[in-house]
């Protein structure tokens, strides 16, 4: 998709996301619009499977920008996140220069530590100039990494410049659009959150989830989609260890349509419960008659609503 300018209003932002089949609510649209206009990073927090990572992908598709993804893990350091020197090539260059009888040490150092031998990792790639406009930098699951990396990231996000001791400072011509996601397995430091615009991505309402299912899984029937969404919404009200997210709902709808199911019945639900619930204790809690009870409740509510 060709590069586009940033959306001009909150409505335009919500429409932009809808173009790529991402149905966001008004609060998310507001935060995204403000972040794009004010040039601030976005900090998205929420349970797993609610669509945090998806936002960055959708933004890059609709705005026509490159997506650069930095997946965080414990022990992530500058070598893996920012840059690394191509040591093998450097050593060969040194030996070749030696064999040729090159005596000028400064020239050698200048050659060896040049961009030719620099391997650029995601953070440095994000600062490079791009014809299509500043890229979208996705920093995924920042809660997996440790405080040292957070401190470094804070420094980078403040000025969008990185200093390579051997070469100099690299500064971005246009600040990238930064999206940071977190699963909240660790409290991220306040300083980083203060720099960003924060948003908690929660589970969608029944109507929004229904529209999402209909958009994303086109093959699913009208009645089935209503029942699926109502069942998942009822499940979330229960005391489960891990409630199913939107991704699980979509997977389930797709699985059921593969199985050519037209309407839910207890046997099918029990068989495919593993798509929705990922903990054995939760599945055990819903075994046997409880599935039938829940399904009957859901169906009677749907009939009453019609």
């Amino acid at each position: 998709m060709p590069a586009r300018s940033l959306p001009a209003s909150i409505d335009a932002t919500v429409d932009l996301l809808a173009e790529a089949d991402y149905l966001a609510d008004r609060s998310l649209g507001t935060v995204l619009y403000l972040a794009l206009k004010m040039g601030r990073p976005i900090f998205l927090e929420g349970e797993a499977g609610v669509g945090k990572t998806e936002i960055a992908k959708v933004l890059s598709t609709t705005l026509g920008r490159r997506l650069i993804r930095l997946q965080c893990y414990e022990g992530l350091d500058i070598t893996a996140a920012v840059y690394e020197w191509n040591y093998a090539a450097q050593m060969i260059a040194i030996r070749v220069a030696e064999a040729e009888g090159e005596r000028d040490r400064e020239k050698l150092e200048h050659d060896v530590f040049s961009e030719r031998f620099l391997i650029k990792r995601p953070l440095l790639q994000a600062l490079e100039p791009d014809a299509a406009g500043a890229p979208v930098l996705l920093i995924d699951e920042i809660d997996r990494t440790d405080e040292a990396f957070e401190a470094y990231l804070l420094e980078v996000l403040a000025d969008f410049q990185i200093t390579i001791p051997e070469m100099g400072t690299v500064k971005a011509a246009h600040s990238p659009v930064v999206v940071i996601t977190s699963n909240r397995t660790r409290e991220v430091h306040d300083a980083l959150k203060r720099r960003c615009l924060y948003h908690w991505v929660g589970y969608p309402s029944a109507e929004r989830e229904l529209s999402i299912v209909r958009r994303k899984v086109p093959g699913v029937g009208k009645k089935l989609s209503e029942q699926v969404v109502a069942f998942v919404q009822a499940l979330r009200k229960r005391d489960l260890f891990k409630s199913p997210g939107v991704a699980e709902t979509l997977d389930w709808a797709a699985a059921l349509s593969e199985l050519d199911v037209v309407a839910l019945d207890p046997a099918t639900v029990s068989d495919t419960l593993g798509v929705l619930l990922k903990y054995q204790d939760d599945i055990a809690r819903l075994e046997g008659s409880k599935v039938k009870e829940l399904l009957d409740e859901v169906k009677s509510e749907l009939r009453a609503a019609e």
């Binding site: 403000l34 414990e74 020197w85 050593m91 050698l108 440790d146 203060r194 260890f241």
Partner: protein, 399 residues
């Protein structure tokens, strides 16, 4: 809202102060951000206005509710807003404050500094009075039977007790003298000095770090004599280490980590008491552990945490739920240490149903009723589990 445009900035400023009073930390930078955000987004519908301010002021999910309440109250009616503003103006007389908990100590500290000579003499006297045998007695004395002077001495001793505990290896690599990986970058830089003729190897190895500690402290009636002392211990631990989280439970579970971060121990304990509604009430261990597992386990137990469960284990309704929850807790952490003040009784046997349910799922079972046992705990956390604290031995000791 058009006629309020001239006073919009002031309104936002006062709203920020209301948020601060409600408990959301809002700095002056956030107010400037809010004004810029409103300029960018425009003051349109009430809903958009709400979400614009929400995006700027709320930085934690828990603050969302506070923000909602504050917004509803603040931006309700014009007359009400003016009343509220009048209340928050800096000229308003401040209400009389209750004396701060640490006030007497500050007073003492100030006046103690004036009389240095006398103080020195007094110090020497104090040393002579606390003979070795007195100190030994203090070590072994049960907390429940201490006088307040002895408790003060115990608190001092506790501060000295919190040594750096054993560290665990992390995945972060740092320069290490005898590491097992060659750090090519530093090696190359070092060898550039010699023109590339010599290769001076430099190494990196895994960095070590003390593991996070999570303390679950029972504050019900049966533990009331020990709770305050343990809170002091946990406060000293919070001071000394980076990642210490503390939760208090009785009938409900409360996270008091931030309250314990206050420098002054009296302030910290006052903040704890203020936030906990069920002090010295009943005990519901199973439901508290369930709440912890559901809401907090995935947030504080990552990166190899050690859990200190401080409770006497006397649960009113010990059923399968208790066994299930403590099993889950055991699986989610690196080491689960159960500290039970009931072990102060010489002939303690694990007969109570609650205790027998919990014992198989615990890595270590230790006493915690006096300073000696606390020192033993600290020493034990420096090594791996030893056999004296093996819970299986306690299960078999019952005839």
């Amino acid at each position: 809202m058009a006629e309020h445009n001239g006073r919009l900035a002031e309104n936002i400023l006062y709203f920020a102060r209301a948020l601060r009073a409600a408990g959301i930390p809002v700095g002056p930078g956030a107010v400037l951000d809010a004004l810029e955000a409103l300029r960018v987004a425009g003051v349109g519908t009430r809903n958009d206005f709400y979400w614009t301010l929400h995006a700027v002021f709320v930085k934690r999910h828990e603050h969302s509710i506070l923000f909602d309440q504050a917004f509803r109250i603040f931006f309700r009616r014009r007359g009400f807003i003016d009343q509220l503003l009048a209340m928050m103006l800096p000229q308003a007389p401040a209400p009389r404050e209750a004396p701060q908990p640490g006030a007497t100590r500050v007073h003492e500290a100030l006046y103690a500094g004036l009389d240095d000579k006398l103080k020195k003499e007094r110090e020497i006297e104090l040393d002579a009075r606390m003979t070795v045998s007195d100190r030994e007695v203090l070590q072994k004395k049960d907390f429940a039977q201490m006088t307040s002077a002895e408790i003060a001495a115990a608190k001092e001793a506790m501060k000295k007790l919190v040594l750096p505990l054993a560290e665990v290896r992390t995945r972060r690599l740092a320069p290490h003298l005898h590491g097992h990986l060659i750090d090519i970058r530093r090696t190359l830089r070092a060898s550039m000095k010699g023109g590339g003729a010599f290769i001076d190897l430099r190494f990196i190895g895994p960095k070590t770090k003390p593991p996070p500690i999570v303390a679950l402290l029972d504050i019900s009636g049966s533990m009331s004599q020990y709770s305050r002392i343990f809170l002091h211990f946990l406060h000293a631990l919070t001071d000394a280490r980076k990642r210490v989280s503390t939760f208090l439970f009785g009938t409900r579970l409360t996270n008091v980590t931030r309250a314990l971060r206050e420098r002054d121990p009296d302030d910290a304990l006052a903040a704890c008491s203020a936030s906990v509604p069920d002090w010295s009430g009943g005990t519901r261990i199973a439901s508290s552990l369930h709440a912890f597992n559901k809401l907090w386990a995935r947030r504080v137990l990552t990166q190899g945490a050690i859990v200190l469960l401080i409770t006497d284990g006397l649960e009113r309704d010990a059923d399968d739920a208790l066994g299930f929850e403590i099993d889950r807790l055991h699986r989610s952490c690196r080491r689960l240490v159960w500290l039970n003040p009931l072990l102060r009784f010489e002939g303690f046997e694990a007969r109570a149903r609650g205790i027998r349910t919990m014992l198989p799922h615990v890595d270590e079972f230790r006493a915690i009723h006096n300073l000696e046992s606390m020192a033993a705990l600290v020493a034990a956390l420096q090594r791996s589990a030893d056999r004296a604290a093996d819970p299986k031995a306690w299960m078999q000791r019952v005839a």
